[in-house]
């Protein structure tokens, strides 16, 4: 069964990948329950659809903005809104202020991964004018296995594993499950990591590599991303 209902020519592998992502979003982790992970995606949707708050306005500082029974801690909601609507304004001091509010650094990395994926999948649907991916029901059982990777703070603000490759591919390395989700999306919407630097001339999907890199660079500039 297709993830999207549309006459637009969405490649089957891309359609399937977005369906897989929704299932992965419901998979509990060591840091966040299934219900909390799905709440992250729902909160990203709220942040995308709402009138934007200014970067300095944290949702937790606005009376009544966050429901009393919200499954996520206030600091996580502040991360979701800031990262969704003002990613280019983040600083190391801001990150440290979030961690000081009882968000574990590895839990924070997982949160970044989820917020980033939701921004990808939902903005794709919005751009095509199709219904966003349906979210599954939360999974009741706790199946998460804690990563046994050794991680430390070296090059990034956040802890990373000692892996090779570009820094941006190392960014989520402390949470391999989220790094895998990133790779799933990358392989159907950009180019597979293995081809990132090795094959610069082939056309992927219906775009040439030059067209792909133009859209990538223009989007990154609009998001005020230096990297």
């Amino acid at each position: 069964m297709s993830t999207y209902t549309t006459e637009l020519p969405i490649r089957p592998e891309l359609d399937a990948a977005h369906g897989d992502l929704a299932t992965r979003w419901a998979t509990p982790s060591h840091s966040w329950s299934s219900k909390q992970r799905l709440s992250v995606i729902a909160e990203v949707r709220r942040a995308i659809d709402a009138d934007e708050l200014a970067p300095w306005e944290a949702p937790s500082s606005i009376e009544g903005f966050i429901a009393n029974n919200h499954p996520l801690p206030d600091a996580a909601i502040d991360v979701i809104w800031r990262l969704t609507n003002h990613p280019g304004t983040l600083t190391k001091e801001w990150y440290e202020s979030i961690i000081s509010r009882n968000i574990d650094p590895v839990a924070y990395v997982e949160l970044v991964g989820l917020v980033a994926q939701a921004n990808c999948v939902d903005r794709f649907a919005d751009g095509l004018g199709v219904k966003r991916v349906d979210l599954p029901d939360p999974i009741a059982t706790k199946t998460a296995v804690m990563s046994e990777l050794e991680v430390s703070v070296t090059t990034h603000w956040v802890p990373t594993a000692a892996t090779k490759g570009p820094n941006v591919l190392k960014a989520l390395s402390s949470v391999p499950f989220e790094n895998e989700s990133r790779e799933i999306l990358s392989s159907v919407q950009y180019v597979p990591t293995a081809a990132l630097l090795g094959d610069l001339t082939s056309g992927y999907n219906s775009l040439t590599r030059l067209q792909i890199e133009l859209v990538a660079a223009r989007t990154s500039k609009l998001n005020e991303c230096f990297y």
Binding site: P87, G127, Q211, K221
Partner: protein, 114 residues
């Protein structure tokens, strides 16, 4: 690098704005305009550029371009949410490009400690 390997004369203006040319890339202006409409979430602009791009290049190009742009809404959030610095060895070689596309003054500027 892609342009060099294909012996194509490319430039960086389409990265800075959709009104400054196509950068030597086929449908470059429209692709840049589409990226802007997706970022601003302006439905009127999106509808207009969608029609232009579908007519000029086809619906598959429109769908895949939306996919690439959405992908980079993800990658920018990963980079800036984790404090990802420029890769070692890319700092100096990218200096001219950074100047050309005007990103040196961004808050998100981060370099590897040397």
């Amino acid at each position: 690098m892609s342009g060099v390997s294909q012996n194509i004369d490319i430039s960086f203006e389409a990265i800075s704005s959709s009104t400054d040319g196509n950068g030597g890339v086929l449908h470059g202006e429209l692709l840049s305009k589409l990226s802007e409409a997706l970022w601003s979430k302006n439905l009127n602009e999106l509808t207009a550029v969608r029609e232009e791009l579908v007519n000029a290049a086809g619906a598959d190009v429109f769908v895949d371009a939306v996919g690439v742009s959405a992908m980079f809404h993800m990658m920018t959030r990963i980079a800036d949410g984790t404090g990802t610095p420029l890769d070692a060895g890319t700092d100096e070689p990218s200096a001219d490009i950074r100047e050309a596309i005007g990103v040196n003054d961004l808050v998100s500027r981060r370099h590897m400690a040397t």
